[in-house]
């Protein structure tokens, strides 16, 4: 095991050795605490109260404090603390409201020393004074904190938070008289132990309960708090008002927080729910944990650093009934797994990628993309800080822009907008979409035919005579499969004609049988070539091949699939016709898919029906996957939606989901919100329809009284004022409201636009220089 590694740290007289290890407890733990010399740990829970010795190789059970046949509820511990001065002194907080102290020096089996039953509700926390031997503080669900002098039978003072339950109390490390208390209502209070009448200071730290707080061991003024709102905040208490200086957002409510010894900026957290890991954060790097311990199988309930001057050992107890010692060097470092490279396509086919600088410099010999290659500084270098243990990651960002003409995406936008996906009978949808594609004269015109094919397959049981035709239609399609192998080697540099000719030969036999109508039908496929070739040439002119790999490939592949079916056309119509760019334009333009469709119907009776609808499903599936793989996910998704149940079962859910996601992403980048929403709505994938179920609520506060508005967006129920008046016309805005983020004045979109055309100051007269971009 790699975790067998041993570390020895010399700390004054004592030295700590050990490895990552664990032991099974009999019951879930609620809290743990170590004694000062870091040799023993106490584990407390509802049904457990034991002391373990920390030996080099293992935990050894030293003492079971839970004695008696039917132990009383005083043994049911919510919290435990080992005195940091007195080796024999422990205190526990019981769920029934008792505060109990234990003296390990007692000769009897029952070590219970004193019992305070002053709290009416569960005690959530006990805390010994760091230097004073007899001072114990408790915080309870009943909203009171009590200070006990262990030489007396009763509490010496009671502090009333005047608010809800106390979740945590902590003596300040440096300030003899000060302690902090955190509350269920989100407040944190500072108290002077000598003044029980009122708190010194109070501030709201979190929304919802503050589950924990911890004073920085070295820095006098720093207090870390963690709450149900999933935040860890670090407060500077030296100033007049508590100032939030760092904030870490975690993924679940924060149950415990502990500063890491000897490391000024590190703290460990564990969570109350759902997440079982322990994280160590560098608070200056709040986005990614510095280290993670992933051993526990249920929520971690107690964490404690083994020695107050040793940052390498962390102990933790959990609801999964285990006690762990974690070695810091065995921790997972999420930073190492983070990917410092990024690659992204722009909307118009631009490509940006960020990569580690060292990698870029090794490629420096490369010819830069003319005019297009721009490098942006990504991270500005900070002066390396020796205390930071993060590797410095700096990346260079390169952006490659494509030639505007070659990859205009208008067709995408138009087709997306015009395609009808639902609301009409199946056949009409197909017809409509076919027409759309035709009108746009895009390479995707082929979808016209595809749609027809699909339609025929789809309605096969009804329209028996359609079979044969679709069969014939499918001919080239399936041949395509066979040709693929051959076409693949063709790359952009090959003369396109070559591949055609080779395909033609292949196709020859099969197409010969077909009669007149096919000729025209394939005719419309010709369109593809027209539009495709110029694009292809454009790509070839892109001078820098290696970097620009992806886009050309996409086009190249599409070329393959498209030019194949057109082959018979060359063969039959004009064998000598070499597929030059300008060649076919005229003849093809007159053919509309409607025509070809009517021809289809004529030819129907010629063939005898003997095929089943499901026969075509695999073919359609293949075809869709091709489209998707070649980058035309629009096609794949549109067909998928229109066909609905007919094809859905053929394609596995993950693939469908992937297509949907890609298409929706594209649509959203083009700001086609309506279309993308329609797609989401129509999709049959549960993962996709979920997208619409996530909250789309926008919360607004009244600009007048600053209270949340409940009913309507424009009138406040509380102060009866119109909250969103237009700064230009002074009427209520009941639609698009635009406002300046600087001065927060705003109004009707048009009004503001007009105003700022002629003025530069805010229309409200506040003197702010607003800017409309």
């Amino acid at each position: 095991m790699e975790k067998m590694s041993r570390v020895t740290t010399a700390l004054g007289s004592s030295s700590i050795t050990g490895r990552t290890m664990f032991c099974h407890l009999d019951a879930p733990a609620n809290a743990i605490s170590v004694c000062r010399d870091a040799a023993q740990v106490v584990v407390a829970g509802r049904n457990i109260f034991k002391i373990y010795a920390l030996e080099e190789e293992q935990f050894v059970e030293k003492l079971n404090l839970r004695v008696g046949r039917k132990p009383s509820l005083n043994f049911s511990c919510a919290d435990v603390m080992w005195h940091q001065m007195e080796e024999n002194l422990l205190a526990t907080a019981a769920t029934n409201g008792a505060v109990v102290t234990w003296n390990l020096g007692k000769p009897s089996r029952n070590k219970q020393d004193q019992l305070f039953t002053e709290h009416k509700r569960t005690v959530n926390k006990v805390c010994f004074h760091p230097t004073e031997a007899y001072m114990l503080l408790s915080g309870s669900q009943d909203g009171f904190m009590k200070c006990f002098d262990l030489r007396k039978k009763e509490s010496v003072s009671t502090f009333s938070g005047q608010s809800e339950s106390v979740r945590d109390v902590q003596f300040s490390m440096k300030d003899y008289f000060t302690f902090a208390a955190s509350f269920e209502n989100g407040n944190v209070q500072l108290w002077d132990i000598r003044r029980p009448d009122r708190y010194e200071r109070m501030f709201t730290a979190h929304t919802g309960p503050v589950f924990c707080c911890d004073w920085h061991p070295d820095d006098r003024g720093w207090l870390a708090t963690g709450g149900r709102d999933k935040m860890v905040k670090v407060w500077d208490m030296t100033t007049n008002r508590a100032k939030e200086i760092y904030c870490v957002q975690t993924i679940a409510s924060v149950a415990r927080v502990k500063w890491r010894p000897e490391k000024k900026f590190h703290l460990a957290t564990c969570s109350m729910m759902v997440d079982h890991n322990i994280y160590v954060w560098d608070i200056r790097r709040p986005f990614i944990p510095f280290a993670t311990f992933e051993e526990h199988k249920d929520v971690t309930t107690g964490i404690v650093w083994r020695h107050q001057h040793d940052p390498h050992y962390l102990l933790s107890g959990s609801k999964d009934s285990t006690l762990y010692q974690h070695m810091f060097k065995d921790a997972t470092r999420p930073v190492d797994k983070a990917n410092p490279e990024g690659l992204c396509f722009g909307l118009m086919g631009d490509l940006a990628f960020a990569v580690n600088e060292s990698l870029v410099s090794s490629d420096a010999g490369r010819k830069p993309y003319p005019g297009g290659d721009r490098r942006y500084p990504f991270f500005s270098f900070k002066k390396p800080n020796p205390t930071e243990q993060f590797a410095h990651v700096s990346s260079a960002l390169s952006v490659f822009e494509t030639d505007l003409d070659s990859s205009r995406m208008d067709w995408f936008v138009k087709t997306a907008q015009l395609y009808l996906l639902s609301g009409k009978p199946f056949t009409e949808l197909c017809d409509h979409n076919a027409t759309v594609a035709q009108e746009l004269k895009r390479p995707q015109v082929r979808r016209v035919r595809t749609k027809i094919i699909i339609r025929i397959t789809g309605t096969a049981n009804l329209n028996v005579s359609a079979f044969s035709f679709s069969m014939k239609e499918m001919g080239p399609e399936s041949r395509l499969e066979r040709c693929k192998g051959e076409s693949r080697p063709d790359n952009v540099h090959l003369e396109p004609g070559n591949s055609h000719i080779s395909n033609n030969n292949e196709d020859n036999e099969e197409t010969e049988g077909s009669d007149g109508p096919t000729e025209y039908m394939f005719g419309d496929a010709e369109l593809d070539d027209d539009d495709l070739y110029p694009m292809e040439h454009d790509n070839q002119t892109v001078p820098e091949e290696p970097v620009y790999t992806l886009p050309p490939e996409a086009f190249q592949l599409r070329h393959e699939i498209i030019d194949n079916p057109s082959a018979p056309e060359h063969l039959q119509q004009d064998k000598a016709d070499s597929p030059h760019v300008s060649g076919n334009e005229a003849e093809v333009a007159c053919l509309t898919p409607i025509e070809s469709f009517s021809l289809i119907s004529i030819s129907q009776p010629l063939y005898s029906p003997h095929l089943h609808a499901s026969f075509f499903c695999p073919i359609v599936r293949e075809m869709l996957s091709h489209y998707a793989e070649r980058g035309d996910v629009q096609m794949a998704v549109s067909v998928l939606i229109v066909l609905g149940e007919r094809i859905r079962k053929e394609i596995d859910d993950l693939t469908q989901e992937h297509w949907y996601m890609s298409y929706i992403d594209l649509l959203q980048r083009f700001e086609l919100w309506n279309v993308s929403n329609e797609v989401i709505k129509l999709s049959t994938c549960s993962a996709i329809t979920c997208l619409n179920q996530t909250s789309t609520t926008l919360h607004i506060n009244c600009s007048n009284c600053k209270r949340p508005m409940s009913n309507k967006g424009w009138i406040c129920d509380r102060c009866r004022q119109c909250a969103s008046a237009c700064a230009v016309c002074h009427h209520v805005v009941k639609g698009l409201f635009v406002w300046c983020q600087g001065c927060s004045h705003g109004g009707h979109l048009e009004h503001i636009m007009n105003w700022l055309k002629n003025n530069s100051h805010c229309p409200a007269g506040c003197g702010h220089l607003c800017e409309y971009t």
Binding site: R46, K70, P71, S72, L73, S76, A78, A94, T95, N96, G97, L115, T117, H119, K120, R121, T122, Q141, E184, G208, P209, F211, R228, A252, S253, M272, M273, V274, H276, K297, D298, S686, C690, Q693, S695, T696, T697, S710, N711, I715, D717
Partner: protein, 557 residues
């Protein structure tokens, strides 16, 4: 036009004495109502009465009367001149609208209509509640604002709202939760939400809630045939049956497996966690609301079946309402009631001052068990539930049974310290259904802090211990135990008649009778009894939620 009239049509189909001849007849009557809605006031025009603008409201009111008068001029026979749904709506307005001018006008119009020879319906119930005298709930009271607000935003003030308005601070947060549950964005479609509530209400035979939600279900575009029987609903909804049943009667039996069956990858139909939690909250919310409805003896709304009649009821022929709180008269006799209050107050003070004596865990457990297993006679068997409700319930014979932890394979008690709403439940709900946790949290907090510092005829009383005892007693009935609570004080504070009421309400709400209601706290105000009702309702909601959420947490893990 047609779309505008659909709600009013369904409304009507509902009000008919012999409703739901299943879906087939729907289409024919639909035409009928279409032609009528041309002239008659539509719901749309009625909705304008809810405008926040005073002038607009006045105009809408004028228009409404004009239209109705025009209808009356029409040359048709008898009651054909005004459709039934219009009449019922007027009736509702005349009885429950918090705006005086609207109420007056509606009454006036009904009078005119009657003079014109139209059969006018009259409400059978004398007030919102069969237990609480109507004058205690008079809508001119102090709580005008909140009622007006609710009228303006919801278009009606139902009996539930009127009774809750005794505690305005609670009502406002209740309405917010209700709004968020049924109207705001969420994983379930709106008609489904209401249908889930219908299913839940049917478990407690609460035809008041069933009718309220059925109406809303149809307004949300739901399929009418679903209401004629649960077998017409989609499989996915029907798969909630087990959970619904357990949540309503024995939530402690809910386990990880129940969640898994609905959520895991192989499940068909499969629920997403967000959908499931939405449904769970809907069901638990409705179940506990049923407790409230029965516990306060709410009368059917004027437009519910049995809530109105066209002829003045003769004693021999009272149209039987499927929802009628039992009318046993149990007016309090004034025997030493005042003394009871004194004693209770004294005990509360004592409890607060008394230092807790140390008891063994055993003793505490025994006290807890004693509370839980104490036999409280609750089973006054009511007649079979009405057909309307029965068709929506599967396994109607599954009922509450005392939580029995001592048995063989029975579940262990839930420790409040191990799974609490504040620490665990909230985070889970918030994670799966953002904002919902916040709303529920607020509701729980308002209820647990609600106090007017008075008790019966005494002012300046700290009622904390009493409220706490109620809350913990209900949780105790549901098998949730607080380590830091001495269950001995439940016996001290809650008299037997109160326990009977609480247990009936929490466990067999449909068997609440006026006698039970009147028997406890005889010198307390009605508003205080409603307060007790609120505590029972929320405690029950939280208990049911805790068990389910705990199972979901276990499933996620």
């Amino acid at each position: 036009m047609a779309s505008g009239s659909i709600p009013s049509f369904t409304f009507k189909a509902y009000g008919e004495d012999n409703p739901r001849q299943v879906s087939g007849s729907g289409s024919s009557s639909r035409h009928h109502s279409d032609s009528e809605s041309e002239i008659c006031p539509t719901t749309k025009s009625l909705a304008r009465l809810c405008s926040r603008d005073k002038d607009e409201r006045a105009t809408a009111l004028e228009k409404l009367s004009e239209k109705i008068l025009v209808c009356l001029e029409l040359d048709r026979t008898g009651s054909a001149r005004l459709s039934k749904e219009t009449l019922l709506h007027l009736l509702r307005l005349s009885r429950s609208c918090p705006l005086q001018e609207v109420r007056m006008r509606a009454t006036e119009l009904l009078c005119i209509a009657q003079e014109e020879g139209i059969e006018v319906p009259r409400a059978l119930a004398s007030g919102p509640s069969a237990f609480i005298p109507a004058k205690e709930l008079l809508i001119e009271g102090l709580n005008q604002d909140i009622l007006v607000e609710s009228f303006l935003s919801l278009g009606q003030v139902d009996h539930l709202t009127m009774v809750m308005a005794l505690h305005p601070s609670y009502l406002s947060c209740f309405l917010r939760t209700q709004h968020a549950l049924f109207e705001l964005d969420g994983p379930l479609p709106r008609d489904w939400r209401h249908y889930v509530s219908v299913m839940a209400a049917a478990r407690h035979h609460c035809s008041y809630m069933v009718q309220q939600h059925s109406k809303a279900f149809l307004e949300a575009g739901g399929d009418e045939s679903w209401l004629s029987g649960i077998k017409h609903a989609p499989v996915k909804l029907r798969s909630l049956h087990t959970l619904n049943k357990l949540l309503a009667h024995r939530p402690w039996l809910i386990t990880q497996q129940h969640i898994q069956e609905l959520v895991c990858a192989g499940a068909e139909p499969r629920w997403s966690l967000a959908e499931l939690i939405h449904a769970v909250i809907l069901m638990a919310h409705t179940h506990s609301l049923c407790s409230f409805v029965w516990g306060c003896g709410l009368n059917p709304e004027p437009d519910h079946i049995g809530g109105y009649a066209f002829h003045p009821p003769s004693p021999s022929h009272i149209p039987r309402s499927p929802h009628s709180p039992a009318h046993e008269d149990g007016r309090p006799e004034l025997v030493d009631g005042a003394v009871e209050v004194e004693v209770l107050m004294k005990r509360m003070v004592e409890l607060q001052q008394q230092q807790e004596e140390e008891c063994t865990q055993e003793e505490m457990v025994t006290r807890f068990e004693r509370q839980r297993s104490e036999s409280i006679p609750t089973a006054v068997v009511r007649g079979a539930p009405p057909e309307l409700v029965l068709c929506l319930v599967e396994e109607p014979e599954f009922r509450y049974e005392d939580f029995a932890p001592r048995g063989e394979q029975s579940p262990s008690t839930m420790r409040a310290q191990d799974y609490s709403w504040e620490d665990h439940g909230f985070s889970l709900v918030q994670r799966l259904l953002p904002d919902m946790g916040q709303f529920l949290d607020e509701e729980f907090q308002v209820v647990s802090n609600l106090t007017y510092n008075r008790m019966a005829m005494h002012e300046d009383v700290d009622t904390y211990t009493l409220r706490k005892a109620l809350w913990n007693y209900i949780h105790c009935l549901y098998g949730i135990r607080y380590d830091d609570y001495d269950y001995g004080s439940v016996n001290v504070l809650l008299e037997r008649s109160l326990k009977v009421f609480v247990k009936t309400m929490a466990c067999h709400p449909e068997q609440t009778t006026a006698r039970i209601y009147h028997a406890f706290w005889r010198h307390f105000r009605h508003s205080e009894k409603v307060h007790a009702n609120l505590i029972v309702m929320e405690a029950r909601l939280q208990a049911a939620l805790l068990y389910t959420l705990r199972s979901i947490t276990a499933y996620i893990k």
